[in-house]
Symmetry: C2
Subunit: 217 residues, 2 copies
């Protein structure tokens, strides 16, 4: 055993790492070789120690007075996030959000390779969206098994989300990325990540409402 990468890391840290990655990839493109925590922190208005602690989990070590190697950070963060080898994914629900995700070119850079889409609407089945086939939902279980697909993306309306998730899990899907505004019940061992825009929106509208109220008074 070389390194113990299986450290459980807080969600907060995990969510900051892509920010750092984006930054250091930019620096790499510019030919910059080293970067300090202080510099990274300044970019995001974070505390330098926090940045150092975050980087620590990736296994990358820095040098005093020099900082961290930019290439080292790119490699280690990508590796830590599991973004070096993209995982195959199936998407269910070729509505607006589903289409938008299918059209997003950069997911492969973020560890995700959407292989095909599924829909129960027979009019959509057989078509292609951004080059990706839309298949009948009934085909999903067999294909998950045959192709060893790990990730399922749920983009269906709230009322269909649970049955779709169940279908995926029974087929052997190991992780679900849920865009439906519904809480999913999933068995232990299966990974669930909610990408609920309404939560983000709640933070925004609450802040805005408070701001408008306080400035008025």
């Amino acid at each position: 055993m070389v390194a113990l990468k299986s450290v459980v890391v807080s969600r907060s840290t995990l969510k900051r790492l892509p920010l750092y990655l984006h930054l250091v990839e930019g620096l790499y493109a510019q030919g910059v070789e080293h970067v300090s925590c202080t510099a990274i922190a300044k970019e995001f208005d974070f505390d330098p120690t926090q940045v150092r602690k975050d980087i620590e989990v990736t296994g990358e070590v820095g040098t005093a007075r020099v900082g961290f190697s930019v290439t080292g950070l790119v490699i280690r963060i990508r590796e830590f996030l599991g973004w070096n080898n993209a995982h195959d994914a199936f998407l269910v629900g070729a509505g607006n959000m589903g289409k938008a995700l299918l059209g997003y070119k950069d997911f492969e850079k973020y560890g995700l390779n959407i292989v095909a889409a599924f829909d129960k609407d027979t009019r959509k089945v057989g078509s292609r969206i951004f080059g990706k086939e839309v298949l009948a939902l009934s085909k999903l279980p067999n294909l998950v098994k045959r192709m060893h697909v790990h990730i399922g993306i749920v983009c269906v309306p709230a009322e269909h989300a649970q049955p779709v998730a169940d279908l995926m899990i029974n087929a052997g899907i190991q992780a679900i990325w849920n865009f439906a505004p519904a809480p999913l019940r999933i068995p232990e061992g299966v990974i669930l990540e909610n990408a609920r825009l309404t939560q983000s929106l709640a933070v925004l509208t609450n802040n805005l409402t408070r701001k408008l109220n306080t400035t008025k008074e």
Copy 2:
């Protein structure tokens, strides 16, 4: 002064409130009149005390042995989140993500009313997407002022995000919902909320990678 709604509340609480709201709206539709924290907590695998604390910020009070009024919760949570009167918003960038957001019918329920879209691509300008006009970006500043639009949604590629945000802020936009995978620099007082999918994806792919590694060993 009646109630002091201007309490600053943690992001975590703010993000859980929409979950509760969704649940109690469902209960309301079923005709249920009261619900306890214990019941809500069970639904999401949260701690009942946490749910009680979250609800406390909305100003709704419960009754021992009975729980909280379902209608009371619906009203108070929606009010607290600022979802009773939708704020007008302009969206910039009518690409895939932009289109998906324009097509999302339910935003009005979540306090957001997308009034129009803007794009610098002259081929898109003049068209309509899901009934919403696509206008030239140069028209944005005047319209923000005339229509008193508060929210700006940034759906442009990373490299254009900052100039677009600057344009919005100079025009008087008070809150920005950012979908671009780029950190935005904004002046104090302006509200920024990032809806970055890559952060959510990072949590998912990291968990999955760890899971696959540990089960293999």
